[in-house]
Amino acid sequence: MSFLKLFFKKTSSLLFTLFFLSLLVFLLIHLLPGDPAKIMLGERATEESLKAVRIQLGLDKPLYQQYFSFLKDLAINQNLGTSIKSGELISTEIKRKFPATLELTFIALFISSFFGVILGIIAAIKRGTRWDFSTMFLALAGVSMPVFWLALLLIWFFSIKLQWLPITGRIDPLIDFDSKNYFYLLETLMSGNFEALKSSLKHIVLPACALATIPMSMTARFTRATMLETLGQDYIRTAKAKGLNPLLVIFKHALRNALIPIITVVGLQFGSLLGGAIITESIFSWPGVGTWLLDSIYARDFPAMQGAILMIGASFIIINYLVDLSYLVIDPKLRKSTS
């Protein structure tokens, strides 16, 4: 199958999934128990005001008309309504919360792939030794770790016992720093405000480490398997036989070839980190989309719920699509096997 054909196939399935996501998010109002108008106005609302709100929300129209106006609002005006709890526009809330999630996910992805690859390489080189067993046991423990528990333990140890790191938030409120786009790390770095940078780094360490545990373990296991496969190839034996420096053989000959499948897995983990962020964020009261989603579920704030689900779902779908496309570009062999 040609690249173009695959590209169209993937893109059409992307659009289809996004369409499904919008349908799911739209139907949420109708699937959730309770009358949305009553939730907005409270239990003591009069029948007339309930009716007025229903008309205002368009709940009196047929379902398909409601969906079309929902899509129109979403696509053209980027309008998802206003949050019941905070009274703010959903789009404004997203602008404030999504950068927090994105920053956390990126740092976690960095930690997990950096340490995961290193651990995997160590295990592969020292195959069958104590190093191998202990790293692989660590990796298996990491996969089985309930992240929310690990997060509590980290808080208990680093924040309460040692008092090294803060428990919640993104930056020390006493530090005078006004964020414009809510990318704290990036903005503090750009503006050269190192005190603020240090504070926001301190705030992100624990949540990012907790979030990175499972993907790091997976990367380590996968790197080990891929490295072992590559190290068994003939050209590695040749390189060794030539008398090349063993480190050179490992890093230049083996790792380079093992890296493509590893990068693919790391890319796909970016999406799963977004899912994991929901729970991690809520433990650290990280003001991102995940905390927002759970808070809005507790408060039955359905416009906010819709916004959060849409943001997490759509970024997950789009990232996986981009990863898919990029490895079609990187590795031409895959074009054959996926057809």
Binding site: S13, F16, T17, F20, L21, L24, L28, L31, L32, P33, L140, A141, V143, S144, M145, P146, V147, F148, W149, L150, L152, L153, W156, I160, L228, E229, G271, S272, L274, G275, G276, I278, I279, S282, L293, L294, I297, Y298, M305, I309, I312, G313, F316, I317, N320
Partner: protein
């Protein structure tokens, strides 16, 4: 019998089996006997540290913020966690097996349709989907089990479908067809038994995933509700007290960790033994 022998020779699988047997033993014991009433609230016994006597009573693992014995709650919780795993496994098998076989064996439009739906469901993070389903159904342990079961169905469909696709092209299936065997008999006698290996491997891994996901849902308040002694709910409850009482979160977390680890070890071992293609 051969499988059990192979498992006992496989290092990680045998560790996994030991952990699982211990877990089952704890669950059975907890069903018949617990040292204290797991639900009894006693404001005089709040947050007693582990391994300490208190008014002639011994609370081996301490008490929680409501004065309930943590050990008794953990023992009751073991049964709940096993139940969660089985329910999720049963649900995903009940729907996943027939749908996977239909999609794989019959192909065509129905296969395309099933695959489309599976692709869509797998294109969202499973924890997001589980949270949404739990929110729609309302927070309770039963609904969390349903949510986790539903989320796992598409994985099973995909695994079984790919296995059926391989199996149906084999010569003995062709031979059965040529001999005039009825379709359902081919499915029942030839296809299903050959799908067992992947089903067992992934079933074991699903079990550990289900325990973890259910605990996560309870932890964010969308699963088991107080005073149910579910491990995740115990962590949720302990969040208020763990600043000065480390034991309220340590022991439930350890239970979740070891149960999940046990099933993961067993699953890995089963994969090594039953799927020789992966063994090198």
């Amino acid at each position: 019998m051969k499988l059990i022998k192979q498992l006992s020779h496989h290092r990680s699988a045998s560790y996994g089996l030991i952990v699982i047997c211990l877990l089952v033993a704890v669950a059975i014991t907890g069903y018949f006997w617990v040292p204290h009433d797991p639900l009894e609230i006693n404001s005089y016994n709040k947050l007693i540290p582990p391994f300490s006597f208190h008014k002639d009573n011994i609370y081996l693992l301490g008490t929680d913020g409501h004065g309930r014995d943590i050990l008794s709650r953990l023992m009751k919780g073991a049964l709940l966690s096993l139940g969660i795993g089985f329910t999720a496994l049963f649900m995903s098998l009940f729907f996943g097996l027939p749908l996977g076989i239909i999609a794989g064996y019959f192909g065509g439009k129905i296969d395309q349709f099933i695959c489309r739906v599976v692709d869509i469901l797998l294109s969202l993070p499973s924890i997001l989907l589980a949270i949404v389903i739990a929110a729609i159904l309302g927070p309770s342990l039963e609904n969390a089990m349903i949510a986790i079961g539903v989320v796992n169905i598409p994985h099973f469909i995909r695994i079984i479908r790919s296995q059926v696709l391989v199996e149906k092209k084999k010569e003995y299936v062709e031979a059965s067809k040529a001999l005039g065997m009825k379709t359902w008999r081919i499915l029942y006698k030839n296809i299903v038994p050959n799908c067992l290996a992947p089903v067992i491997i992934h079933g074991t891994l699903l079990f550990s995933g289900a325990i973890l996901e259910a605990a996560a849902l309870s932890f964010v308040g969308l699963g088991a509700q107080a005073p149910t002694p579910e491990w995740g709910a115990m962590l949720f409850d302990g969040k208020e007290y763990f600043y000065n009482a480390w034991w309220v979160i340590t022991f439930p977390g350890l239970m979740i960790f070891f149960s999940v680890l046990g099933f993961n070890l067993l699953g890995d071992g089963l994969r090594d033994i039953m799927d020789p293609r992966l063994k090198k």
